[in-house]
C-alpha cells in the first residue's frame, strides 16, 4: 500500500479546496466533518503506509513515488515526487497524527468563531503544505511546501484580522522568516549551479563525491540552508517573530508554532545532514546557535506573564535543544526530541487553550490560580505535559529525548563540556519556568470565575497527547536503562549513528543522574519561589537588579528593540527620504504640465459663440498664411 503515499498530502489539499470554494455555504457541522475528516483520512493512510513500510521495507529503506514532471526546461526537470524513508515517515506520522488531534480540538474550540470554515480551510492547507515539505523528493518541491506553511502561518496568525495588532504580528512573522527563506533560496541556487540537480538524494551523493570536508562550497551551501532553518525554526538571531505569533488562535499556536512548522528547520538540517557533515564549521555554528537560543529563550520564558508567551519562548528553547543535537551530530536524537516535543508542547498549548477559554480570554497567569479543582482533566494533562517538558526522570518522554541530546553534547566528537553545561542550565530553566506556570495557573487561591462548555472533542486530544507524552519516550531507551534504541535503529538507514568518543556507560549514568537532579531541583525551586514562599521571589523581582533583568528578559533580550532601531527605523527613514526621487519627479512633472495646460484651455471655453468664431477665423487666417507664404 506504499503507492497510496500521494494521498497523504492530497487529501488535506482536497479538503482545503472544498472548504475554500464552498465553505461559506456549508453548515458548521459539515465544515467540521470535512476539515477534521480530511486530516483524519490522511492520518489513516499515513498509518497504513507506515505499517506497510515497517513490515515489508522497500529496497534500501526508501520508497519514491513520481507523480508527474513539474517543469521541464533544458536539463532542469523537477518532478512532483514523494520520497519516503524512515525520517520522512516519522515526520509524516507525527504531523498527521498531531494535526488530526488539533483539528478535532479546534472543531469544538472555534465553534463560536465567525470564520469557522475559513479557519479549517487554512488549517487543511497548512497540513497539506507541511506534508509536501516533509515528503518532497526534491528541494524545489520542499521549498514549495516550505513557503506554503509560511503562508498559512501568516494567514492564521492574522486570523482575527480586524485587530491591527494581529495583522502586525502576522506581517512580522512573514517578513522575518522571509529573511531566512531568501538565504535558503540562494542556497538552492548554489546547489543547482554547482551540482546540477535539486533531487535531494542526488544532491547528497554528488556533494559527498565532489566536495571535500570543509571546502568553501560546502560551507557556503550549508550556511545558506542554515539561514533558512534558523528563520523557520525561530532560532537566534531570527527568533523574534515567534512570541508575537501567539496572536493567532490557540490551536494554531499548538499546531504551527509548536508542534510542526517551526520544527521544519530541524527537519531540513537532518535531511541535508550530509552537507552539514561536509562543513564542520557550520555544524559547530548550529550547535552554538542551539545552545545560545535555548538559554536566551529559557530566561525570557521565566519572566513572562502571558501563558501563551511562556509556551512560545519554551518552544524556541526546545528547538534550541534540537539544534544543539544537530550541531553535535546526534541526528536521530534531534528528530526524537522533535517527536516528543510535538506531543507535549501541543498538549500544553491545547490545555492552555482550555484554561484561556474557561477564564474568558484571560492570558495573564497572575490573574489565574486555583484552577486545579475546577478543571481536573485539564490540570492533570497539563501536569503530564509540564513534567515531560521539564524532563522528569524515568516516567516522561521528554526525559529520554533530552537526555539523549545532553549525552550527545557531551560525548560527540564535536561536543564539549560547555555545550553540555549550556544544555544543563537550560534544563534547570525549563523545569523552573514550566512549573512556575503550573503553580501560578493551577495552584494557589481561586480568584476568577471559571466556566466553559465542556466537550469530549476538547478533552479527548488532551488525554491522547498526555498518554503519548509519557509512552512516546519508551521507543528509545538509553544503554543505562534497558538499552533498546528502537528509534535510532529505525533511523539508522538515513541518519548515521553518533560516535560516542568521550565517556563510557558509567559516565553516561553519572550524567543522567546529574540531569535528573537538575530537573527535579528546578521543579523544587519553582515550588519554593512561586508557591511556598512567594514573597522571596517578589522581593527579588522588586529589587533594582531584579527589575532590570525582568524588563530585559521580558522583552526577549532587547532583540526587538535592536532590530527596530538598526533595521526597521533606518529602512523607514530611507523610504521616506526616497519617496520623492528623480524618476517620480518626471511623472509628477508630466502631471503638473497637464494641469497647467488644462487651466489655460479651460479659460478659453467661455460659452460665447462669437469668441469661438473669432478663434476659427484667426486659425483659418494663420493656416492660409502658412500655406501661402511658407
Amino acid at each position: 500500500m506504499l503507492h497510496w503515499l500521494w494521498l497523504v498530502p492530497a487529501v488535506p489539499f482536497a479538503g482545503y479546496l472544498v472548504l475554500a470554494l464552498a465553505g461559506a455555504r456549508l453548515s458548521r457541522t459539515s465544515v467540521a466533518s470535512i476539515g477534521v475528516g480530511s486530516v483524519g483520512l490522511a492520518t489513516l493512510v499515513a498509518c497504513g503506509v507506515g505499517l506497510s513500510f515497517i513490515y515489508s521495507p522497500p529496497v534500501n529503506h526508501a520508497y519514491s513515488q513520481t507523480l508527474w514532471t513539474w517543469i521541464s526546461v533544458g536539463n532542469f526537470s523537477p518532478k512532483i515526487a514523494f520520497y519516503l524513508d524512515p525520517l520522512s515517515l516519522v515526520m509524516t506520522l507525527v504531523v498527521t497524527f498531531v494535526s488530526f488531534l488539533i483539528h478535532l480540538y479546534s472543531s469544538a474550540f472555534m465553534i463560536d468563531e465567525e470564520g469557522y470554515s475559513r479557519f479549517f480551510a487554512y488549517m487543511n492547507l497548512f497540513v497539506g503544505s507541511m506534508l509536501t515539505l516533509v515528503l518532497a523528493d526534491n528541494f524545489l518541491l520542499l521549498y514549495l511546501g516550505w513557503e506554503g506553511v509560511g503562508l498559512c502561518s501568516y494567514l492564521l496568525i492574522g486570523f482575527w484580522y480586524k485587530d491591527p495588532i494581529n495583522g502586525r504580528a502576522a506581517r512580522k512573522a512573514f517578513i522575518v522568516t522571509r529573511i531566512g527563506d531568501t538565504a535558503f533560496a540562494i542556497g538552492l541556487f548554489l546547489l543547482f549551479t554547482q551540482l546540477g540537480t535539486l533531487q535531494i538524494q542526488e544532491v547528497m551523493q554528488r556533494a559527498a563525491q565532489q566536495w571535500t570536508v570543509g571546502s568553501k562550497l560546502a560551507v557556503a551551501a550549508s550556511a545558506l540552508l542554515l539561514g533558512g532553518a534558523v528563520g523557520k525554526s525561530a532560532q537566534l538571531p531570527l527568533q523574534t517573530w515567534l512570541p508575537d505569533a501567539m496572536a493567532g488562535p490557540t490551536p494554531v499556536s499548538a499546531l504551527i508554532h509548536a508542534a510542526t512548522m517551526v520544527t521544519a528547520g530541524v527537519y531540513l538540517i537532518a535531511r541535508a545532514h550530509v552537507l552539514f557533515s561536509l562543513a564542520p564549521a557550520v555544524q559547530l555554528v548550529v550547535a552554538i546557535i542551539g545552545a545560545a537560543t535555548l538559554l536566551l529563550a529559557g530566561f525570557s520564558a521565566l519572566v513572562q506573564r502571558d501563558i501563551k508567551r511562556v509556551l512560545a519562548y519554551s518552544t524556541i528553547s526546545q528547538i534550541g535543544y534540537m539544534f544543539l543535537a544537530l550541531g553535535v551530530g546526534a541526528w536521530s536524537a534531534a528528530i526524537f526530541h522533535l517527536m516528543t516535543h510535538a506531543f507535549f508542547k501541543a498538549l500544553l498549548f491545547l490545555a492552555a487553550g482550555v484554561v484561556i477559554l474557561a477564564m474568558h480570554e484571560e492570558h495573564d497567569m497572575f490573574k489565574m490560580g486555583g484552577l486545579r479543582s475546577r478543571l481536573p482533566v485539564t490540570f492533570w494533562t497539563f501536569l503530564i505535559g509540564a513534567a515531560s517538558l521539564s524532563a522528569l526522570p524515568l516516567v516522561t518522554a521528554g526525559f529520554y529525548s533530552k537526555d539523549l541530546i545532553l549525552w550527545g553534547a557531551w560525548s560527540s566528537p564535536s561536543g564539549s563540556t560547555w555545550l553540555w553545561v549550556g544544555g544543563l542550565v537550560g534544563a534547570l530553566l525549563t523545569s523552573l519556568y514550566t512549573f512556575r506556570m503550573v503553580f501560578l495557573t493551577f495552584f494557589g487561591e481561586v480568584n476568577h470565575e471559571v466556566s466553559y462548555a465542556s466537550d469530549i472533542r476538547l478533552r479527548l486530544p488532551l488525554i491522547v497527547l498526555a498518554v503519548l507524552s509519557v509512552v512516546g519516550g519508551f521507543v528509545e531507551l538509553p544503554s543505562t536503562l534497558g538499552d533498546r534504541p528502537l528509534f535510532s535503529d529505525f533511523m539508522g538507514s538515513v541518519l548515521p549513528a553518533l560516535d560516542h568518543v568521550r565517556g563510557d556507560t558509567r559516565t553516561e549514568f553519572v550524567l543522567q543522574i546529574i540531569a535528573a537532579v537538575v530537573s527535579i531541583s528546578g521543579i523544587y525551586l519553582a515550588y519554593i519561589f512561586f508557591l511556598g514562599r512567594r514573597p522571596v521571589a517578589e522581593v527579588f523581582a522588586r529589587s533594582t537588579v531584579g527589575t532590570v533583568l525582568r524588563r530585559f528578559w521580558f522583552g526577549g533580550w532587547g532583540f526587538d528593540w535592536l532590530y527596530e532601531h538598526s533595521f526597521v527605523k533606518p529602512f523607514v527613514w530611507l523610504v521616506r527620504a526616497n519617496k520623492d526621487d528623480f524618476i517620480d519627479s518626471i511623472y509628477d512633472g508630466i502631471a503638473r504640465l497637464n494641469e497647467v495646460f488644462y487651466g489655460l484651455l479651460a479659460r478659453t471655453e467661455t460659452g460665447k459663440v462669437r469668441w469661438y468664431m473669432t478663434g476659427i477665423a484667426v486659425g483659418a487666417i494663420v493656416a492660409i498664411a502658412i500655406a501661402v507664404f511658407l
Binding site: 479659460r603 467661455t606 460659452g607 460665447k608 459663440v609 462669437r610 468664431m613 477665423a617
Partner: protein, 102 residues
C-alpha cells in the same frame, strides 16, 4: 462687352467675405449673424462664378447652386434654432446663451 477682369470679381468676393465675417464677429443679434453668414456664403459663391467664367467652365455655376441649397438648408435649421433660443431666453442676444462653458 469686354469681360470683367477676374481680379475685380475676386476682390469683390473678398470684400463681401470680410464684411460678412466682421458682421458675424461683432453683431450680437443672432438674426444679423445668420444674415452675415449668408453674405459670406454668397461671397464664396461669387468667387466660384468668377473663376468659372475665367476658365469658361460650368463647374463654378454648379458649385454656386450647391451653395444656394446648403444656404437654404442652413437658414431653415438656423431659424428653428433662433426660435428655440428666443423661447428659452426671451432674447436674441447670442452672448446670453453662454451656459456651456468650462
Amino acid at each position: 462687352m469686354p469681360a470683367l477682369p477676374m481680379e475685380h470679381g475676386l476682390l469683390l468676393a473678398a470684400l463681401l467675405f470680410a464684411l460678412g465675417l466682421l458682421g458675424v464677429l461683432v453683431r450680437r443679434n443672432v438674426i444679423f449673424i445668420l444674415m452675415s453668414i449668408e453674405i459670406m456664403l454668397n461671397a464664396a459663391g461669387l468667387a466660384f462664378v468668377v473663376a468659372g467664367s475665367r476658365w469658361s467652365q460650368a463647374d463654378g455655376q454648379v458649385m454656386f447652386i450647391l451653395i444656394l441649397a446648403v444656404a437654404a438648408a442652413e437658414v431653415s435649421v438656423g431659424l428653428a434654432l433662433v426660435l428655440q433660443l428666443y423661447r428659452r431666453l426671451q432674447t436674441l442676444d447670442v452672448d446670453a446663451a453662454s451656459k456651456m462653458r468650462g
